[in-house]
């Protein structure tokens, strides 16, 4: 009896502790939010309150870091006309809905959710808060006050591939994949096709870790790829572990989502970064001016959302010129990485010569192109 009561008491104290720790974490964004509103002039209208829900820590140096740079771009652009705040480490679970409702009740009028897994929670919360505008990254379900946005990360992957195709000595590239959804498979294919455009002998090995963020496993996967002969790596995961592993083992790799030069100065070939700033500024301006309307946006190099930065010095000038040419082509709309003929792994043509893949095709890529080894997990 006594021991049972002890157990109960302990369980309770554990719960209290966990809550305390949880609260401690949540206090921070509030502090951050309070700073810019230190001296509001009485005549001005109330600032537009904007909130962000992040899946990871802002310090991940990758995905969430890039979103937070976008948030800062809003503050820089609009100054005291807006008031931004964020909540980090919001899991893709029922917690997300609670956080969204919390943000809505705090008077935020524009709320960004920055990961695919917030789709259903945001749909629910948006339906109950018609006066608030919701923006969901990488999703595909909208509502009258919920719209989606994404970036064409595959354009960055393609440019990385062009560099990798030239810099590899073993003609074998490696990719550390996260979760086998079309976005990631598309990036693996784009990386491979970019490399094949300068080096037809390219083969790509893929190792899936099944998570967005698990640095130890990403390290192990990168090691396995390098041990298997790959010498230029790309990752579609959120940490800098793959670049660091390449640095340690004397191979090359890329930064992903954010500029990662500092984490592997010798290994770093370039960073395929996402710049969320232009879209975030556009969305904020629309909300401020009352012109916000639902829809779906998919921005790339053309709109300044994707960029290949800090290309390594030892990359030959002709390759640098080719990357610049691709960028210019993407900007002008004259070049598209997914232009036929594209051949699948089995040798069958998936896109006929001269045909440019439309967004629907790109959204449903579930196959590997020729040159990628292995099988897409779960594929028959």
């Amino acid at each position: 009896m006594n021991s049972k009561r002890n157990l109960l008491a302990l369980g309770l104290s554990a719960a209290v502790l966990a809550t305390l720790v949880g609260c401690g974490k949540k206090e921070e964004p509030k502090k951050e939010a309070a700073a810019p509103a230190a001296a509001p002039a009485p005549a001005k209208p109330d600032p537009l309150k904007i909130a962000f829900a992040y899946v990871g820590p802002v310090g991940d140096g990758g995905w969430t870091f890039a979103h937070d740079n976008g948030r800062k771009a809003i503050e820089k652009e609009f100054g005291d006309k807006v008031k931004t705040s964020f909540v980090e480490n919001v899991p893709e679970s029922a917690d997300a809905e609670r956080v969204m409702r919390d943000l809505a009740s705090q008077g935020n009028k524009l709320i960004f959710g920055t990961t695919f897994g917030y789709m259903e929670p945001m749909l629910k919360v948006a339906a109950d808060n018609k006066g608030i505008k919701f923006e969901h990254a990488t999703g595909y379900k909208g509502a009258e006050n919920l719209r989606t946005y994404d970036s064409r990360t595959y354009e960055g992957a393609y440019m990385a591939g062009v560099i990798a195709g030239k810099m590899t000595k073993s003609n074998t590239l490696g990719v550390v994949g996260s979760i086998p959804i079309p976005e990631v498979i598309r990036n693996i294919n784009s990386y491979t096709m970019g490399a094949q455009s300068v080096n037809p002998k390219i083969k790509t090995k893929v190792v899936w870790v099944g998570e967005w963020f698990n640095p130890a496993k990403e390290t192990e996967a990168a090691t396995a790829l390098i041990n298997g002969g790959a010498d230029v790596l790309l990752q579609n995961t959120d940490s800098k572990a793959v670049l660091q592993t390449a640095e340690k083992l004397g191979k090359r790799a890329f930064g992903w989502d954010s500029d990662m030069t500092a984490y592997g100065p010798k290994a770093h070939l370039g960073s395929a970064v996402i710049n969320w700033g232009p879209y975030y500024i556009k969305a904020t301006r629309e909300a401020l001016e009352g012109k916000w309307a639902t829809g779906a946006t998919w921005w790339g190099v053309k709109e300044g959302a994707i960029e290949m930065v800090n290309v390594a010095e030892d990359v030959p000038a002709d390759i640098k010129a080719k990357v610049a040419e691709i960028k210019a082509g993407l900007k002008a709309g004259t070049f598209h990485p997914w232009t036929g003929p594209i051949v699948g792994q089995d040798g069958k043509e998936v896109l006929a010569k001269g045909v440019v893949a439309d967004d629907k095709f790109l959204g449903g890529v579930k196959f590997y192109v020729k040159g990628v080894e292995g099988k897409v997990p779960g594929a028959k």
């Binding site: 002890n6 157990l7 554990a14 921070e28 820590p57 390290t219 192990e220």
Partner: protein, 306 residues
Amino acid sequence: MNEIALLVAATFNAGTVLAIAALGLLINEKAGIVNLGAEGMMLCAAVAGFAAVVYTGNDWVGFLAGMGAGALMAAAFGVMVIWLNTNQYATGLALSLFGAGLSAFVGVGYVQAKLPPRGDYSIPFLSDIPFLGTALFKQHPLAYFALILMAAIVYFLFKSRAGLVLRSVGESPESAHALGYPVRRIRLLAVIFGGAMCGLAGAYLSVIYTPLWVQGMVAGKGWIALALTTFATWRPARVLLGAYLFGGVTMVQLALQSRGVAVSEQLLSMTPYIATIVVLALISRNPAWIRVNMPQSLGKPFYPGG
């Protein structure tokens, strides 16, 4: 051939983290205390070790800081379960949750931090031996420490008087108490040792293995280490082998993937736990086995004079 050597090397490295943590936990379990807080202790040690290296640039200071963090948390746990007689399982779980939260809270500022370049740990001459050199002699010193630790624990537990006392405390604390041994203090020391080794493993993870700090980076290795002691039926040599086995499962799976062989990643990450449940079921069917290896008073509180 070289690829196999590299696979062995990677397995050796992956197993080291598990081995050091599990060997430490073995000692406190032999003294009759289960500490389910391993994951939390490893996380706190990982951030402590990482921060120490950021400030000092010295890996060994990082290991010491990690051991200190682990030992400190274990000591707090020890006082609660040994003197206040709180339930070991609940307290351990609380410690694990607390450690996960605390490490995330303290570590916010270190997520972006960078360590000085990691060195090369090849042993001169030995690392030039074909195959064996690559497979075994290019590891960080702590990888060999795990082997020494195992040997030292075998000697301590089964050949030394102090080890005999420790085991008696885990088997029958009442008898040990009657003979005049300070049961509670011995148990506390064992718990602190377990925490220090978990701490060392956690620091190795953030300072050498990955090397970076992010929230939750131990990613279940503490739980696998806990499962290992049971899987190994509390035998030090089996703990070590089990650590390499569990470490190897992941490495083999990743190596197969990079060769285009599809293996279910999800299924393989379950294997340590499935193996442990199987072993538990097996030893529970055979009372003789339990008597030989499992500390009789594991998880039970001790009331002196009670």
